[in-house]
């Protein structure tokens, strides 16, 4: 199954695959972010592969100079009982990834969560709001430069004015 996925992707999207790796028997394919929707659509609609079930989407902050953020797509094929991980890298200042909500509606909340936690925007998302944090929260908590104990004053407590913190 692994070979088939790689072969099929290679034949259709040869120039858009950045890296193929395997760790502990799990296949990870890094692709270019501009093509993510096309690749997802292909993986879902191809009758032999049929990755029709989106398990999860999440962000990762690698905290490095190049390719700081990644968005990880976790797919499952109900027909072949096979897992595949797709990954795209995204960098500041252009923190935008095309949304795959048009392929699987399950992506809706997962993308909202990724936006909430990392500030990665998904273009074409129908309802990109914060999901866990308050609407007016200004930071992205799962970024590595956000401190574990939070930023004092960033969430106003009852009877307390909101404090604007000067960032140096």
């Amino acid at each position: 199954m692994k070979d088939k996925v790689i072969e099929k992707l290679n034949s259709s999207f040869k120039d858009d695959i950045v890296e193929i790796s395997e760790f502990r028997g799990e296949l990870t394919i890094v692709v270019k972010k501009e093509k993510i929707v096309d690749i997802c659509k292909f993986l879902k609609e191809d009758p032999e592969l049929s990755f029709d079930y989106l398990v999860d989407i999440c962000g990762v902050d690698y905290y490095r100079e190049k390719d700081r953020f990644a968005v990880v797509y976790n797919l499952w094929s109900l027909k072949n009982k096979f897992r595949l991980r797709l990954k795209v890298y995204v960098d500041e200042p252009d923190l935008v990834v095309p949304s795959v909500t048009s392929v699987w509606s399950a992506a809706n909340w997962h993308e909202r969560e990724t936006f909430d936690m990392f500030g990665i925007k998904f273009s074409g998302h129908p309802d990109l709001r914060r999901i866990y944090m308050p609407e007016d929260f200004e930071y992205y908590p799962l970024r590595k430069d956000f401190p574990l104990q939070g930023i004092p004053g960033s969430i106003p407590l009852p009877g307390q004015e909101k404090v604007k913190i000067q960032r140096s």
Binding site: D52, N74, Y132
Partner: protein, 413 residues
């Protein structure tokens, strides 16, 4: 709704009744806020409903009232230190969460638990599945107005909690799994208690079934309510019993056998209807299958150690720490710096009572996870709520929320 108005006018005119239709100049739609402190939403789920009279036109679930930042916390502690936090996510089945997390960590470290530990994990997993489904069954029956079932289910669950007390030393937040095994061996007294429980439980479950299966109120309140189609369910990413109630036989215990599920004989209950009644039947049958699994495991339980002997990943035994230098060093390093996993990314998922619970771990080679993502089943199951609610009456809201079995501790992380 305009359509329904037109239908009413049409049916009246078919019967030669002339009706003067006055449409509400103010509009009949209103917005209703349910939760987050509503007792029927099973936690702190908040729903914003758009109503047309008593019918639900649209629903928007809002999360985040129990968000504790578990993923951020995980990045700042060692792999073992995070274990107690997994108890507090799906607090109805903490043992399943422990096992799920440890399986992901073991996959990263490349450690495998000994056979006896795997059997013990399966036994406890299935017991907590029964406990979780019992809470669900009790509260669901209470949602539709049957109080007796609630009492009976909690009585049975209490027996399971007593067994957990015997095995793990705690009734509720167990933290029982360890990297490469379990915390302590299971005693003969506990095995005896489990045997006694699984001998009696099917009879007790039958009593509950007798109260519900032919209960007209129960059937009418659940049959055909909250229907979701197979295509919709796959598209929205439903998992667990909710997905099996629409006719998709997806169960990770069969699809990707972990632990010793591959060696056991059990069936996956699947129903086609996709309504609340089907979800009830799936969970009922699952409890019976769990009893079957526990019985087989008790019979097959092999002797041997309950924890792998991998000094670079698992804590050594206490008596060795006190007497041997090497073990003392390993214990010190593991406790303070959390071991040295290889650099890489793993994802491991198990079939939790609620659905697919997965842990995605990114490791940078230190004892702390660089990133830990929890794929929680309740989160995606709640996402399907608007699809199920649309077009139903507001009285069915409570039944539909109850039927998908959300646990907010898990959905909000």
């Amino acid at each position: 709704m305009e359509e329904r108005m037109d239908k009413i006018v049409e049916s009246l005119s078919r019967r030669n009744i002339e009706a003067e239709v006055r449409r509400d100049p103010l509009g009949t739609e209103m917005i209703l806020n349910v939760g987050p402190q509503h007792p029927a939403t099973h936690g702190v789920l908040r729903l914003v409903l758009k109503l047309d009279g008593e019918y639900i036109v649209d629903a928007v679930p809002e999360l985040g009232y129990l968000h504790r930042g578990k993923e951020k916390i995980a990045e700042n502690m060692t792999f073992l230190e995070f274990l107690p936090h997994t108890d507090r996510m799906d607090y109805l089945a903490p043992l399943s969460n422990n096992t799920a997390y440890m399986l992901a960590v073991e996959k990263l470290f490349g450690v495998e638990a000994p056979k006896r530990a795997q059997y013990i994990r399966v036994i406890l997993n299935e017991l907590s599945r029964i406990a979780s489904h019992l809470v669900w069954l009790g509260t669901f029956a209470m949602d539709v107005g049957a109080l007796t079932v609630f009492m009976w289910c909690f009585r049975e669950r209490e027996k399971i909690l007593s067994i957990l007390d015997l095995v793990t030393g705690v009734r509720f937040t167990t933290s029982y799994a360890r990297i490469g095994g379990v915390a302590q061996d299971i005693t003969d007294e506990a095995i005896h208690a489990i045997k006694e429980f699984i001998d009696n439980f099917p009879k007790e479950l039958e009593q509950c079934e007798k109260l519900l299966n032919k209960n007209r109120i129960f059937i009418e309140r659940t049959d055909g309510i909250g229907v979701i189609t197979k295509e919709q369910a796959i598209d929205i990413g439903l998992s667990g019993p909710n997905l099996r109630a629409v006719g998709v036989p997806r169960d990770l215990r069969k699809d990707e056998p972990y632990l010793v599920y591959g060696e056991l004989d059990f069936d996956i209950p699947v129903y086609e209807e996709g309504d609340c009644l089907a979800r009830y039947y799936v969970r009922l049958d699952e409890m019976k299958e769990s009893v079957k699994i526990v019985r087989q495991c008790i019979e097959k339980l092999p002797p041997g150690p309950v924890k792998a002997d991998e000094p670079k990943a698992t804590h050594p035994k206490k008596e060795k720490i006190y007497t041997k230098m090497e073990e003392l060093i390993h214990d010190f390093i593991l406790t303070n710096f959390g071991g040295t996993p290889p650099v890489g990314e793993v994802y491991h998922a198990v079939e939790n009572p609620k659905g697919e619970l997965g842990f995605y771990i990114v490791s940078d080679g230190t004892g702390y996870p660089w990133r830990l993502k929890v794929r929680s089943p309740s989160f995606t199951n709640i996402q399907a709520l608007p699809l199920m609610l649309k077009g139903h009456m507001i009285a069915d809201l409570v039944v539909i929320i109850g039927s998908i079995d959300p646990v907010m501790g898990e959905a909000d992380k």
